[in-house]
């Protein structure tokens, strides 16, 4: 058990989120069950008002969750100073068996909450409020995911053990590691790089073609391939070390916090692509601007990661 100010802050916010989300959850169930836009009953009118409360709560949670995600990494990073063997957030996160799951849930929930808000904005522009039932059904699922995340987070911090010696990122993300994760290191560099740029080329292509379904799929694939190529290839150039594959270390000061820039551009790029495509499939009048947003941010991401190996080559005349 561990009680740093940072962890207390995260606990407090988790509890606030939990209380408010439970409120929203109860209202959501009522709306999914009783919503009838044509009814003139007082119940329907009060549901319409409560729907606004739920939307406000979800916006509140999402807006805080974005910086909180960065703060979580910060905190894990800081704790790495105390946990024997851990050099960065990776060691801390992996010192707990479900640490990786916590991360997956965090990212997934950010995507879902973000999508929910995009759907909400669209819904509010519709006189019939035709997405309301869908919107609140999605929230019921999102609530369960949020509860799982918060549960994971609280048990994560409470089961951190100062006396346990953990592996640092160097061993976690290496060829020699025996974890299932290390399987990906069997992918040769040229394969992953080719895939990465190929997928990006497809993404550019579909963004000009403006077809929703392929654009959606390609964004999901791009997200995954980007993370893999970052760990396998581009990361080593950021560290200028062929053996260092950690996806967390470059969030630290030594690398000018470039990791945040990378993750944020990648998140905005793929998120706007994915949610925009879904919304446009739901309603044809959704504005096509998301193709541009997605393309700009994804390209920015590609430009940054590409710059690292190129600059390295210019400086040193060799590849790693």
């Amino acid at each position: 058990m561990f009680l740093t100010p940072e962890i207390i802050a995260i606990y407090i916010l988790d509890i606030i989120f939990l209380v408010f989300a439970s409120f929203a959850f109860i209202i959501s169930i009522m709306i999914v069950k009783k919503w009838d836009i044509n009814s003139t009953s007082e119940l329907q009118y009060s549901l319409e008002k409560r729907a606004i409360l739920v939307a406000t709560i979800i916006k509140y949670i999402f807006i805080l969750k974005l910086p909180l995600f960065i703060f979580f990494v910060f905190t894990a990073d800081k704790i790495s100073g105390v946990i024997t063997g851990a050099m960065c957030a990776a060691g801390v996160v992996n010192s707990i068996s479900f640490g990786l799951w916590l991360f997956v849930f965090k990212i997934l929930n950010l995507f879902i909450f973000g999508f929910w808000i995009a759907l909400h904005v669209k819904d509010m522009q519709d006189e019939k409020l035709s997405f309301t039932k869908l919107k609140f059904s999605i929230f019921i699922v999102a609530f369960v995911l949020l509860v799982v995340e918060i549960f994971y987070e609280i048990s994560f911090f409470s089961s951190l053990d100062v006396d346990k010696i953990v592996s640092c990122c160097g061993t976690l993300f290496s060829v020699a590691s025996s974890s299932s994760f290390s399987l990906i290191f069997n992918i040769p560099n040229n394969v992953i790089i080719t895939t990465f740029y190929l997928i990006f080329a497809l993404l550019v292509f579909f963004s000009f073609l403006k077809k929703e379904l392929p654009f959606l799929v390609i964004n999901v694939i791009f997200f995954i391939v980007s993370l893999l190529s970052l760990i396998l290839f581009f990361g080593t150039y950021i560290y200028e070390l062929p053996t260092h594959h950690c996806p967390y270390c470059f969030l630290q000061r030594e690398y000018y916090y470039v990791g945040y820039l990378l993750y944020i551009t990648l998140f905005i790029g793929t998120f706007s692509g994915i949610s925009g495509s879904i919304l446009r499939m739901l309603r044809a009048d959704y504005k096509k601007i998301f193709y541009k947003t997605s393309l700009i941010f994804n390209s920015l991401y590609v430009a940054i990661v590409t710059a690292y190996p190129i600059i390295f080559y210019i400086k040193n005349g060799v590849w790693l």
């Binding site: 836009i37 003139t40 009953s41 009118y45 509010m124 006189e127």
Partner: protein, 224 residues
């Protein structure tokens, strides 16, 4: 322009203090018409006005204004509808007394984030029209009754609405100011606006430019 179809409004439905404010109202008001709603307080005039403005929603029935079913619109749209189509003149003016005339007049435009230059032009126009230019920056609490009345009308007109709704507009005015108000109404009528006035002030009943006087009692229309 305004169609009330079979409207019933019940307050506190299924509760012990249930109260039927309007019963089976059917009414049509044409564009450019000036209608006076007449009746004692509690006869349902104000409730009918708030239904027309989509401030509240009918328990039964349908309200159609300007071809829009305002009785079934969500809050976002009713608010926008009010902002664009309806100018309110309340009893006791309902100005915010700690704000200046200018700040009160622009209140209806704030949510649509107006262009400042155009807005200023429009406000100055209205101030000039009602002869209160010198009171632009004065706080409402420092204005006379007549000036407050004119600020309230200026506020109702800022978005250039098609419909003017006035609820007991002369209840707090002396006769001179009431007559002044009637002059303004006449002018608005000439501008082809649809005007609905709820009042029990006899001054309004025999005006030559009033198209219809509708009498209400216990939530029902007596004659029209």
């Amino acid at each position: 322009m305004i169609e009330c179809k079979n409207i019933t409004k019940v307050f506190n439905q299924n509760k012990r203090n249930e109260q039927t404010a309007l019963k089976n109202i059917n009414l049509e008001i044409k564009s450019g018409e000036l209608v006076v709603l007449k009746g004692a307080s509690g006869s349902g005039k104000s409730t009918l006005l708030s239904l027309i403005a989509a401030l509240s929603k009918p328990t039964i029935g349908e309200m159609v204004v300007d071809d829009k079913r305002v009785s079934k619109m969500p809050d976002n749209f009713t608010a926008m509808f009010r902002r664009q189509n309806i100018g309110f003149i309340f009893q006791k003016y309902n100005l915010i007394s700690t704000l200046s005339s200018y700040e009160n007049i622009i209140l209806p435009t704030i949510p649509s984030n107006p262009d400042e230059i155009e807005l200023d032009k429009r406000v100055d126009e209205l101030l000039k029209m009602f002869d209160i230019t010198s009171k632009k920056e004065s706080h409402i609490k420092n204005l006379s009754g007549g000036e407050q009345q004119r600020v309230a009308i200026a506020r109702a007109l800022i978005n250039n609405p098609k419909i003017i709704i006035a609820d007991e507009p002369t209840a707090n005015l002396d006769e001179k100011l009431s007559l002044e108000f009637i002059d303004i109404i006449k002018e608005l009528k000439q501008q082809k606006r649809t005007i609905i006035i709820a009042t029990h002030d006899p001054l309004f009943f025999n005006l030559d430019f009033v198209d219809r006087v509708i009498e209400m009692k216990d939530g029902q229309i007596l004659c029209s």
